[in-house]
């Protein structure tokens, strides 16, 4: 089993510019330290139809309660402001930005657990005698004996047969070579929605990990500074 950079085509060049936006990095930093409820705020606002901050403060009274510690309110305010910046983009761009944020967030969490040197973006995994996959993995952890491959999705609806087959095949090929590979999905959505989506899939999914809004922080090896998650 070995890892290789994905070939760069026109789409990846355009997407790389989105990934490099400071907004994406700021969002990833904030969401890496967020609670599940704060991540729901980000998801709602970035998905939203309206961009009135007061309206969103009313919608999330448990996050903007004046009785909360100031650090918690400040974090919620920062997430709201940043999510509104995303929401104010055009539909197509905001969809790309949201995807890039989930990837950057996942990267932050993986780096927290395994260190920056082992975490790579947009990599293929090659196995002896097996044709290379078309799509690279969003994130890989490249550590001997403890490799990981993660694909990131904004919502549960992103779970489909192609990605499940790819992750399952990678695990199977790795096992055939006597290698351990943890393969999984990072979904910026609730576990309940992911379970419903997965239940409808006929593609193999045994052994495939799924990190959701509630459990994302476990990718980083523990609870976030902001609270449970």
């Amino acid at each position: 089993m070995r890892f290789q950079d994905a070939a760069k085509d026109a789409r990846t060049v355009v997407y790389a510019a989105i990934q490099a936006e400071p907004l994406v990095a700021r969002a990833a930093d904030l969401l890496a330290a967020a609670t599940p409820a704060e991540r729901v705020l980000a998801r709602a606002v970035m998905n939203g139809e309206t961009t009135d901050p007061d309206g969103w403060r009313v919608t999330f009274p448990t996050l903007f309660d004046p009785a909360l510690p100031s650090a918690a309110r400040e974090r919620a305010e920062a997430i709201l402001a940043l999510s509104l910046e995303v929401a104010e983009r055009g539909d197509q761009v905001r969809s790309q930005v949201r995807g890039a944020i989930v990837e950057a967030l996942t990267e932050r969490l993986l780096v927290r657990r395994v260190g920056a040197a082992a975490v790579r973006r947009e990599r293929r995994i090659l196995f002896d005698g097996v044709r290379a996959e078309i799509h690279p993995y969003d994130l890989t952890v490249e550590k001997p004996g403890a490799a990981e491959a993660w694909d990131c999705k904004w919502g549960a609806r992103g779970i489909g047969p192609d990605v499940l087959h790819q992750l399952h095949d990678a695990r199977t090929h790795a096992a055939a070579e006597g290698e351990k590979l943890l393969a999984g999905l990072v979904i910026f959505d609730a576990a309940r929605s992911c379970r419903v989506r997965l239940a409808r899939q006929t593609a193999p999914r045994d052994g495939i990990g799924v990190a959701t809004i509630e459990t994302l922080s476990r990718l980083g090896g523990g609870a976030p500074a902001g609270g449970k998650g």
Partner: protein
């Protein structure tokens, strides 16, 4: 003076609005089953909360859920409606201080 709104009452309003959102989402034919399964799963979760806390005053969750209902009332795109079929119940639960 009318009695303060209860959690059961706001969840009734949320569930009715949610049904409208599902009707928009299920116009995507390939996602009909997913939309219905998703809707059922989240309705069940909201029903659990109503059973456990329905008689409590809604407090700040009343305006919060009203605002969330207004948000989904603006959605006409069925793909966005499907996204919100997952997001809306999460927003309602967070407003009530519940886990997802």
């Amino acid at each position: 003076m009318s009695a303060p709104e209860t959690i059961a009452e706001i969840l009734d309003r949320a569930t009715a609005a949610y049904a409208g959102l599902a009707a928009t989402g299920e116009t995507i034919e390939d996602e009909w089953s997913y939309v219905n399964d998703l809707t059922e799963a989240w309705r069940a979760r909201l029903a659990e909360v109503a059973a456990a806390r329905g008689a409590e005053p809604a407090g700040a969750a009343g305006p919060a859920v009203g605002r969330a209902i207004d948000e989904i009332g603006r959605i006409s795109d069925p793909h966005r409606a499907i996204d919100w079929l997952s997001t809306f119940p999460q927003v309602v639960l967070v407003a009530l201080g519940e886990g997802l």
